[in-house]
Symmetry: D2
Subunit: 340 residues, 4 copies
């Protein structure tokens, strides 16, 4: 049994704790740390059978029994904690994004390389049953050469304005998953981005310097075109669809629902709305990404979401932001090691 330490006991840290406790084989949680150790946290940790609760994540890094850490703390601490963890010889699961600064991401990746530890980034949607089904068709050659990759990604509601102000913008907190999905489904790197956006959901978002609606076009190294459409607010729920179209066919996915029930009445023929939000839609994928991480350590195999997979979406997001500002397509080669 691998011993795991979780750094950061917020929502996503607890989601991973739940997965490790209930679904994942071959690992157990030994300790969790959070800058705020409350009674609630202590009680919760006990109920999950987690032996130790620390205020300082360094106690986790110093525990020689702990094999791997999950970096689930605030975004700006992902990079420095990952670097420390690598130096401490811990395998690392790092929540996305690694950082918003390309230089710092490269530093992290260099330390990981040097330490020879496993490193996986939290792009959980790669483990979703629907997107995996698309990927399987692509890998099987059923699509032929990919020509167009489409991702529709719309949240059921906008986050609080306070969050919008500090998140780095929609491309960094939301679209970054879609940038990863385009890379994952196409099996190719993005070379150029054009982003078009607007403030249509809530003018406060605009006042905070962000957008809430966007269409982003991407050119890929293999010649294919990617296109993403985003909205902060779809009143009917979390809209998460994708399509890969190619020389031999196309594969697309619809949303998941709580049941397949169809109600026919005078008003129409009514199916259920999509599952409400990411916890409902992606819960199984969170468990599966954990299992994947544990298996990579146990079997000494590569993780399925590696350091470059953490780097590229940040590069794309930076390019998208610049494209939006300048009204032109931006090549990733223009970005270099710049931060946002």
């Amino acid at each position: 049994m691998l011993k795991i330490g979780i750094i950061g006991a917020g929502r996503i840290g607890r989601v991973h704790a739940e997965s490790l406790t209930k679904y994942v084989k071959g690992a157990e949680i030994k300790a969790i740390s959070d800058v705020n150790v409350t009674d609630e946290l202590t009680t919760w940790a006990a109920s999950k059978g987690i032996a130790q609760v620390y205020a300082d994540y360094r106690q986790i890094l110093q525990d020689p029994e702990i094999d791997a850490v999950l970096v689930c703390s605030s975004t700006h601490t992902h990079a420095p904690i990952s670097i420390e963890a690598a130096r401490a010889g811990k395998h690392i699961f790092c929540e996305k994004p690694i950082d918003s600064d390309i230089g710092r991401i490269k530093e992290v990746l260099a330390e990981v390389e040097k330490a020879g530890v496993k490193f996986q980034v939290g792009f959980n949607r790669r483990f979703d049953h629907n997107f995996k089904a698309i990927k399987a068709r692509v890998l099987a050659g059923d699509i032929g050469e990919p020509h167009i990759i489409r991702v529709t990604s719309r949240d059921p509601d906008a986050p609080p304005i306070e969050y919008v102000k500090v998140s780095g913008g929609m491309f960094f907190d939301m679209t970054i998953h879609d940038f990863d999905m385009i890379r994952y489904l196409s099996g190719s790197e993005v070379t150029e981005v054009y982003a078009c956006g607007g403030v249509l959901v809530n003018p406060e978002i605009g006042q905070a310097g962000d957008i809430d609606t966007a269409v982003i076009t991407l050119k890929l190294a293999n010649g294919a075109l990617g296109v993403i459409d985003n909205s902060r607010k779809a009143v009917y729920g979390y809209d998460q669809r994708a399509e890969v179209f190619g020389s031999k066919g196309a594969v697309q996915t619809r949303n998941d629902t709580d049941s397949t029930a169809i109600y026919s009445c005078e008003g129409g023929v009514i199916a259920e709305k999509p599952k409400y939000f990411f916890l409902e839609r992606y819960m199984q994928s969170f468990a599966d990404e954990m299992q994947c991480f544990i298996d990579a350590i146990v079997n000494d195999t590569p993780t399925l979401v590696n350091g470059n997979d953490g780097l590229q979406p940040v590069l794309i997001a930076i390019a998208a932001k610049r494209s939006l500002e300048e009204g032109r397509a931006v090549k990733l080669s223009e970005i270099g090691s710049l931060s946002i």
Copy 2:
């Protein structure tokens, strides 16, 4: 924490053990018994954290710490063990069918009544997300008065001939779930049955005295009509659909699939086949029926599948068998306390 003893460590006993360990809150398994205690069983029990493994279920019944038992042994032992368990003051979850003899079922129910213990029968499909969605529409009044209840229930493949010879026949081992579903969805009792069947899948099933394909029509006390179609073998997988049609509308469910992916190619537009069989389709419902049972004990509320819910489908199955033999509709009032 309630303490549970599982009697019978076959497939369904282990399914429930898995659910209790992983998903169910408020209970833990203390002991399991099986007539064959093998090394494999001992190892498996240990891996699930089950402290005791017995060859004799009476050791479970005699353990004063054990609050409730799951009767997962061979069908012909369901009734006698349930009676003993009731007398020992244990709450009882009994796999379906309770028995094939109406008299013995009534004996069980009388002992349960006398002992004042909880009693739940293993009609897990009532806990399936799709059928629950139909039931919710019915209860909400969205269907109005139910007029027609349809159940399609087809297995992906016929069971081994050795099983067919001892199962009591298709109506008892397979359709019994559908009889329960008709009662559950309609909220009404079956009063009359007409069954029509044939041997179309495998002639050996006919030689064993059974059928493999059937259409059964049911009259309900509230005037509605029920209709079930069954096959032992649907080459495309486990086909489990239902529809309730009434004065204000209809609600129907489709099959579950592993993903929503749709592949469009020169050969057509291809969706996934239904989930393969009951373990794939109904796993969550097994967990949910366990939770329901535990909650009924903890909160001292009625179970959602009670003794009468165990009795009625057996009555219907007996009537269906007679109808098939005599080519006429058979009233349940004709059956009385007879066995098959």
Copy 3:
């Protein structure tokens, strides 16, 4: 160009006139007759380019230029007029049912045989694109041996009570199409019928001696089972679905809608209701049955809905009525040449 005479200028007569005028190649309408020749009819006929309007259908039968007649008059006149038409050497398209008396139907078929004219019965649903798609799969062997044939047939609203009183009952005015569909899709003859019905839509229908809701089970000569469910009133519209299930797979059809639009909103994900009723759903099939009839004459090939196809559904309807009265399965061999 074949010259056609239409006998009976009611709704269905005009539907056929419309088809012949607009869609059908190789024929033109020379005359139409109706017991009530009104100004409206005369004007309508002129607008369709129909040269002659008669009160007496015999004028059509006596016109040597007229090659074929459509018998669209009242049901009780179908048989005598068809006999006269056959004797006059006219090819005959006869609306369903030919008659409710088996003896009279056999008389018609004998006269048709003797005269050597073409005879087609108006089971238009065989020409519907959806049911044809099922039939094509069956004929291609994609289903293997058929095991279960299901037809759901529900009207959007009950007919006027005055019609119910004279129609001969639901099995004759409504289910008769479904009886034909079971024969068509299975490619086999019905040998036994069990019918179960009730009055759930409107008690006046019961007072008129009829039922409004039914489930009918049929045994077929090839061993397959058929099942039909009927309602006089589906509030969401005309529900016309079918499924053939067999050893190699199943094929099913859904309802047609005016568009494929899906509206997602807070209330759900809403598709369109089925097309309202038979004129909306089956208009193209009416045109195609006409073309089929014309082509059979021009090419001297068999019609696709022949005399026996007109006879069998009436036999089944008589058996179904008796089954409903006697609560038992009724063999078609019991019916002989009896009328209802």
Copy 4:
């Protein structure tokens, strides 16, 4: 009855002739002209009841009995013939595009204005039942404010290279319909375009100076974003879908199929491919646009696709072409009266 003259007896001219003959009320075709009057054309015209066949379209324009003309000749003749027709006082249905030169289009519109004749452009897809269903939801306010309008438009196969060389490019011969659809569905004008494209289907198309795959993003005056994805070749058939997403919900359409049949077998659950190409998918819309044109004349109401609706998509196509060349978003205000 209005009298119609058709100028140009190619494929689309004959499609309109078919519609006028079979489906459209209130009009009849008096004459047709084509630069090549062959025996085949004469025979075909006779079979449709068209009295006159001319080599010179001017004979149609000079016929005082003719009320309206359909301009179905080669694209480069649309503008001059429309101008002559307007001067001759004929109402004009003009196939798209009016011209590829903005100046010439404006000349046509000025002449039409001066003559006071009706003018309708052949954007038939506005009359398609699916797109009309989207538009109805938008007009009813069910979508709220439109935020994102998506059009997927993929042909089943690329046109011959000879056609590609003279068509003016994909944006002019194919995407122009989608530009119109974005305007139609959004109810707003396009202000800016970004186009991204590639040669992925056939390198010969690239050698001919065109592209075969594209994603185009559009900004609209009302703030909404439009996005179109195009391919010259979808192996599964004609893929024609759209979605409007807004503040109150979304509405999307799927493709039409020949039947609703679903075949379930060991290989999967298989639905039909989309209708093959535009003649199969859009036949009814061709008839409906004709009826709309005739009704506008008869009732002296505006046509539903007016001169500006003919002009704007050409402007957008010119902007898209420039965007593709320059790798930047192009404002329509930059285009002015320039030709491509």
